[in-house]
């Protein structure tokens, strides 16, 4: 336990001592070292098969090797990768009744072992994930998929159980790549987890192949000579190293120049700015759909309730004071989002009043008022609703005090936000008790732990969420009434605030049958507004994905919609 504490400090000192300045820029072109790329992910990859891990680190580590049919690019547009083109209703790729989509493969693509890529590989990948015993992490992308069938060697058809206006779930984006049938055919179903050699070293069509994989530590890749684009990738070898924390990862790229690229740098703006001042690298930001928000518990989380704690129970277990819309409104009004951004995020965050801040066609403009904090108005609303200040300065009504337990994961930026929000709520007579929980536990989804965000044994909790790709349908469908977490769904329900609105549920159903266009955008915005205007969630900050690259590394295009390493074939010095 002692070690746990002294390590960061000692490591930092050693680090500073060990890293005498070196002049990486003067290395001549085209040496072996120069053609080697060092990437640092402070969460280490534990597997190179995205189907068996929902972790971003694993998905991105695999994205160098295995590829989907199409990618999202940095402008949230779809780009065909293994497919010849993006199927649409117009080009006949998507059926008129919206119940199937037909992809055509680019001709002449071969796996890194030399065998040709066929539609049977795609069909196999679908069957692999759809197998109920496989525990596929990408199953949400396959929602409503009836079957994935190869029509001929170069054509694959995905059929849906219902009309699917947005059929780009499977095989679009790095979460659902195409894996090789030949390699994985013995790994179906329950055997998926046992195929260590396959999961640690999949054969792919991507620019690199795995040479050496050490779980939770490091992956060494070398260039795939059979990559379809001649002359690419520019780098011959890549090392993807894991471990450490966000601040030390940023330092390794920006200050010491040991690494060329580092990912997910949630560190305080002044710390980052100081590292940038060292002049060895640059910070990259991409605004996707990540929003740091407060979840406001609509159910009673009193620890005396035992088994009924934080259960929705069809509305029979309402929160003693957060079920009052006036209180929730006041809580949102009291928060100065600009201050939170300035203290914890700097350029990497913007105040937001929406849970879906992007893409712009789905971003509502009806809630902008929340960007201007108004504690006076918040006080007025609370007075009007009958919550009056007691002698201790905390508002109460009928013996119920406005005393909030506010939890989040352990991260210095989050603790800073907590402290600031506490002070803002103090000003309107709301008492706040803070709690922070180790991220591995909080996001661990262990049904036995009382401290997970799904259990939500607190009044308010804060974290970031976002959605894959550019369509919010699946994401927003997660907040319908019957998705309330509880023992009936192993606490895996996604309606974390346990808020319930009949209008919302109806609109979600409409959304799933509305084709892309103005109507779809209108419904999505309305859904966002219901959540936000009822204050089941209080959006705080629209967060950018933040990474860093060394000055010598060129061609990086920050992509918040897909794997950050999506165009690694184009990276060069």
């Amino acid at each position: 336990m002692k070690l746990r504490h002294s390590t960061p400090l000692i490591a930092m000192i050693l680090f500073m001592a060990a890293c005498a300045p070196d002049d990486a820029e003067t290395v001549p072109e085209d040496t072996v070292e120069n053609r080697h790329l060092n990437i640092l992910y402070w969460q280490a990859a534990s597997i190179v098969n995205p189907y068996l891990s929902g972790g971003t680190k694993d998905i991105e580590a695999a994205s160098l090797v295995v590829e989907p049919l199409a990618h999202y690019d940095d402008n949230a547009g779809m780009v065909p990768i293994l497919a010849a083109e993006i199927p649409t209703v117009e080009n006949g790729g998507v059926a008129e009744d919206l119940r199937s989509i037909t992809w055509k493969l680019k001709p002449g693509i071969v796996w890194s072992d030399g065998t040709p890529l066929t539609a049977h590989d795609v069909a196999f990948s679908g069957a692999y994930c759809l197998d109920e015993q496989a525990g596929c992490a990408a199953l949400a992308s396959f929602t409503d998929v009836a079957a994935v069938k190869a029509v001929d060697d170069h054509t694959v058809r995905i059929t849906f159980d219902v009309a699917k206006p947005w059929p780009y779930g499977p095989f679009v984006g790095s979460l659902t790549p195409v894996i090789q049938r030949e390699q994985f055919q013995d790994c179906l179903g329950a055997r998926a987890q046992e195929c260590t050699a396959q999961n640690f070293g999949p054969i792919g069509t991507g620019p690199f192949k795995v040479d050496d994989f050490r779980a939770n530590d490091v992956i060494n890749y070398s260039a795939n000579e059979r990559f379809r684009e001649p002359g690419k990738p520019w780098f011959r070898t890549v090392t993807l190293k894991g471990g450490g924390d966000a601040a030390s990862a940023a330092r390794a790229v920006l200050e010491t120049g040991e690494y060329d690229y580092a990912w997910n740098l949630q560190v305080e703006p002044e710390v980052l700015a100081q590292m940038v001042a060292a002049g060895k690298g640059q910070v990259l930001m991409g605004f996707g759909s990540q929003v740091e928000r407060l979840m406001v518990n609509q159910t009673n989380d009193d620890s005396n309730l035992g088994e009924r704690r934080s259960l929705y129970l069809d509305g029979a277990n309402p929160h003693p004071f957060l079920s009052d819309p006036a209180v929730r409104h006041a809580l949102s009004l009291a928060i100065d989002r600009e201050v939170l951004v300035e203290a914890g995020y700097g350029d990497a965050g913007r105040p937001t009043c929406n849970v879906v801040p992007a893409p712009s066609r789905y971003a509502s403009v009806a809630n902008e008022a929340c960007k201007t904090p108004d504690p006076a108005e918040a006080n007025r609303i609370l007075d009007e609703a009958g919550w009056v200040s007691g002698t201790d300065g905390v508002r109460a009504k009928d013996g119920t005090r406005l005393s909030i337990l506010y939890q989040t994961s352990t991260n210095s930026v989050r603790q800073a936000t907590q402290a600031l929000v506490k002070q803002m709520w103090d000003a309107i007579g709301v008492e706040t008790e803070l709690r922070n929980i180790d991220g591995a536990v909080f996001f661990g989804a262990d049904p036995a732990s009382p401290d997970t965000f799904q259990k939500f044994f607190a009044d308010v909790q804060m974290y970031t969420n976002n959605f894959q790709g550019t369509d919010p349908e699946v994401y927003m469908a997660g907040w319908v009434c019957d998705q309330d977490p509880g023992p009936h769904n192993q606490w895996l329900g996604t309606n974390i605030p346990r808020g319930c609105s009949a209008e919302y549920d109806d609109l979600v159903e409409q959304l799933s049958t509305t084709p892309p266009g103005d109507d779809r955008a209108r419904i999505a915005k309305r859904l966002n507004d219901i959540i936000v205007q009822n204050h089941y969630m209080i959006p705080l900050i629209w967060r950018a994905a933040v990474s860093a690259r060394s000055n010598s590394l060129m061609g990086v295009r920050m992509n918040p919609w897909d794997s950050e390493l999506w165009n690694i074939a184009d990276w060069h010095r």
Binding site: H5, E268, S303, A343, R435, N436
Partner: protein
């Protein structure tokens, strides 16, 4: 009063005068007492002189250096570092001492019983081994999960968690003391003066309290001083894991942890809590060293 106390070794002096006379010859221990009382006084009286709320966030005054209103500067949310060090010290010292005291009482009791009564030796020492073999962190996690909410309801978030932390640290750090004390008691009880005491009919309870414990005091003192340091560090580990005090409740360990990333921007945030922990642990160790010499009848010159 020179007339009353001539420099004559035969004059009757009480035990504690003896102890003090020996103790004051130990320079390190005297300096330790000085430093330690300075820290304790500063931590408890400091807030009356420098009356800034350690929790007040002032975003206009972020990451400031030394100034008149903020003698040690401010952190990245504009909290006053000096006020935080004072507030953190009160918690850390209270946790350190209370937990040390608990583990000392437990460890000495178990060790003495095991060493003195042969019948109890086996069961008690196997019990000690059992505790030693338990993985500490998972045990702490389970205890805290089980009792956090109960205590929070009964005593409020701060007192509840204080009691819980003192309890869990105390209950998981008495084993070393118990082993050391047992060893010492085993050796002492075979000595002639114990046989002599027994031969004149002294009761067992008296033998333990009058003859054995005072002679075993030196190892107990040493493990006590180490215990304080250990408790302060364990507390900071728990706070880091989110199982200790709430994040807005400063302790030295947490201040140090939070400040680590800012070491180049505002070094004071790391320097002062770190210095405070080191000085406390060091001075307490020296005091323990001096006390051991002073309390050991074999080392004390008469």
């Amino acid at each position: 009063m020179p007339t009353e106390l001539p420099d004559n070794p035969r004059t009757h002096r009480s035990l504690w005068v003896d102890v003090w006379l020996t103790f004051r010859q130990h320079t390190g221990a005297l300096i330790g007492v000085g430093v330690f009382s300075t820290i304790v006084l500063a931590v408890f009286l400091g807030p009356f002189v420098h009356d800034v709320d350690p929790q007040y966030l002032d975003l206009q005054a972020r990451n400031q250096g030394v100034s008149l209103s903020h003698p040690l500067g401010t952190d990245n949310l504009g909290r006053d570092t000096l006020a935080q060090v004072f507030a953190g010290g009160r918690i850390s010292l209270a946790v350190g001492f209370a937990a040390m005291f608990l583990s000392l009482v437990l460890g000495t009791a178990v060790g003495t019983l095991a060493g003195y009564f042969r019948r109890l030796d086996g069961p008690l020492m196997r019990f000690t081994d059992l505790f030693l073999a338990l993985p500490l962190l998972p045990l702490l996690l389970v205890i805290i999960m089980l009792f956090r909410d109960t205590l929070r309801n009964a005593f409020g978030p701060e007192t509840g968690i204080f009691l819980l932390i003192v309890f869990v640290i105390g209950i998981t750090s008495w084993m070393q003391t118990a082993r050391i004390v047992r060893g010492e008691v085993l050796a002492i009880k075979e000595r002639e003066f114990i046989t002599a005491a027994r031969s004149i009919g002294t009761r067992e309870r008296r033998i333990v309290s009058r003859h054995i414990l005072p002679n075993a005091l030196s190892p107990i003192m040493v493990s006590a001083t180490l215990g304080i340091a250990n408790a302060i560090i364990t507390e900071s580990a728990l706070s880091f894991l989110g199982l200790g005090f709430p994040p807005d409740f400063p302790t030295w360990g947490r201040l140090l942890f939070d400040g680590a990333n800012f070491i180049t921007i505002t070094p004071a945030r790391v320097l002062w809590p770190g210095l405070a922990i080191s000085l406390t642990v060091l001075s307490v160790n020296y005091i323990g060293d001096g006390l051991r010499d002073a309390l050991d009848p074999r080392l004390r010159d008469t």
